[in-house]
C-alpha cells in the first residue's frame, strides 16, 4: 500500500515537473526566434553579461511601471518578452559553466600536480551551478524573473568565481611550464 502511494506521489511529482518544463520551454519559444537568431553576439569573441544587466533583467521596477499603465495587452507582452530574456540568460550562463568545466577538465588532464581540494571545490561549484540553472529555468515561467533576482545574482557571482578558479589554475600551470622549461 505504501509502495503504491509512493509510486503515485512520484508519478504526480514527475508529471508536475514535466508540465513545468513544457510550459517554460513553450514560453521561451513564444517570441519570434528567427529575427533574433542573428543577434550580434554569442560567438567566441562575445562579452560576458555584466552584472548590472543581470540585475536589470530580474528587476521588479519595469514590471511595476508596466502594471501602472493598466493595459492587459502590455502586461502580457512584458511577461512574454522578459521571460524570454531571462531564459536566454539562464541558457547562456549554463552554457558558459559547461564551457568553463570542459576547459578545466582539459587543463586538469594535462596537469601533473593536481590539488584534490581545488578539484573537489570546482566540482561542487559546478554541480551547484547546474542545479541552480535547472531550478531557475523552471522557476522563471512559474514565479516570474522579478522574484528570482537574488538567485540570479548569486548564480552570476558563482559563475564568476568558478571562472576565476579556472584562470588561476591555468596561469599556475603556465607558470610551472615556464619554470620547468628552464633557460635556453
Amino acid at each position: 500500500m505504501i509502495g503504491t502511494g509512493s509510486a503515485l506521489i512520484a508519478a504526480a511529482v514527475l508529471f508536475l515537473l514535466l508540465w513545468i518544463w513544457i510550459r517554460t520551454d513553450a514560453s521561451s519559444r513564444e517570441l519570434p526566434l528567427a529575427p533574433d537568431e542573428w543577434l550580434p553576439g554569442g560567438g567566441e569573441g562575445a562579452e560576458a553579461c555584466p552584472p548590472e544587466f543581470v540585475s536589470r533583467i530580474f528587476s521588479g521596477d519595469d514590471l511595476a511601471f508596466v502594471w501602472r499603465l493598466d493595459s492587459p495587452g502590455l502586461k502580457r507582452q512584458f511577461r512574454r518578452e522578459r521571460h524570454a530574456v531571462a531564459l536566454l540568460w539562464v541558457q547562456q550562463t549554463s552554457a558558459a559553466v559547461r564551457r568553463i568545466m570542459r576547459r578545466h577538465l582539459e587543463a586538469s588532464r594535462a596537469s601533473q600536480d593536481l590539488e584534490f581540494a581545488v578539484e573537489v571545490r570546482v566540482f561542487l561549484q559546478y554541480a551547484q551551478l547546474r542545479v541552480i540553472c535547472g531550478v531557475l529555468f523552471l522557476l522563471v515561467g512559474l514565479a516570474g524573473p522579478e522574484r528570482l533576482r537574488g538567485m540570479a545574482l548569486y548564480t552570476h557571482r558563482l559563475t564568476q568565481s568558478i571562472g576565476g578558479v579556472l584562470r588561476e589554475f591555468e596561469s599556475g600551470a603556465r607558470a610551472r611550464e615556464i619554470s620547468g622549461a628552464g633557460p635556453y
Binding site: C49, F53, S59, G73, L74, E81
Partner: protein, 149 residues
C-alpha cells in the same frame, strides 16, 4: 609603452567625438543611432570624415567603435520607463511625423542594426525586447481611448 602610444590618440579622438559631435545630439538613443550610422554595412568598419582627417582613419575607427559600444550598453541598461522617454524624445527630434516614425519602427525594427558587433547576446536580446516594449507603450499612449482619459 607602445600600447600607451596607441591608446592616447584613440582617447583624444574619442573625447573629440564626444565633445564636438555627440554633445549636439540630446538623447542617448539618438547618439546610438548616429554612431551606428557611421558603420558601413558591407564591411562593418566605422568612418567619420572629420575625425579621420584629424586623427587618421584607424584611430577614428577605434574611437567610433568604442563610442558605439558605450552608447549601446548605456541605452540597454536604461529602465523601461526611461527608455520610453528616450524613444519619445528621439521620435520628436526627427523631422518626420512622430506617429509615422513609430509605425515604421514597429514594423521594420530598424534599431536592430544599431547594435555593435560581438556584444553579449543576452544584452542584445534585452535591448531589442525593451525597444519592442517601449514602442508598444508609446503606441498604447497614442490610442484615442487612452489619450482622452
Amino acid at each position: 609603452m607602445s600600447a600607451e602610444i596607441k591608446l592616447v590618440p584613440v582617447q583624444e579622438a574619442y573625447d573629440d567625438l564626444v565633445n564636438r559631435t555627440l554633445s549636439r545630439i540630446f538623447c542617448d538613443l539618438g547618439r546610438l543611432i548616429y554612431l551606428a550610422s557611421t558603420r558601413e554595412y558591407n564591411t562593418g568598419n566605422y568612418h567619420h570624415e572629420g575625425l579621420a582627417s584629424r586623427f587618421g582613419p584607424e584611430v577614428a575607427r577605434k574611437a567610433l567603435e568604442l563610442a558605439h559600444r558605450q552608447a549601446f550598453y548605456k541605452v540597454s541598461a536604461l529602465s523601461l520607463e526611461d527608455l520610453v522617454s528616450e524613444l519619445e524624445t528621439y521620435l520628436r527630434s526627427t523631422k518626420e511625423n512622430p506617429q509615422e516614425c513609430l509605425r515604421a519602427w514597429q514594423k521594420l525594427e530598424p534599431y536592430r542594426i544599431a547594435m555593435p558587433a560581438d556584444v553579449n547576446v543576452t544584452v542584445a536580446r534585452l535591448f531589442t525586447s525593451n525597444l519592442r516594449l517601449a514602442l508598444a507603450i508609446l503606441h498604447f499612449r497614442q490610442e484615442p481611448s487612452h489619450s482622452h482619459r
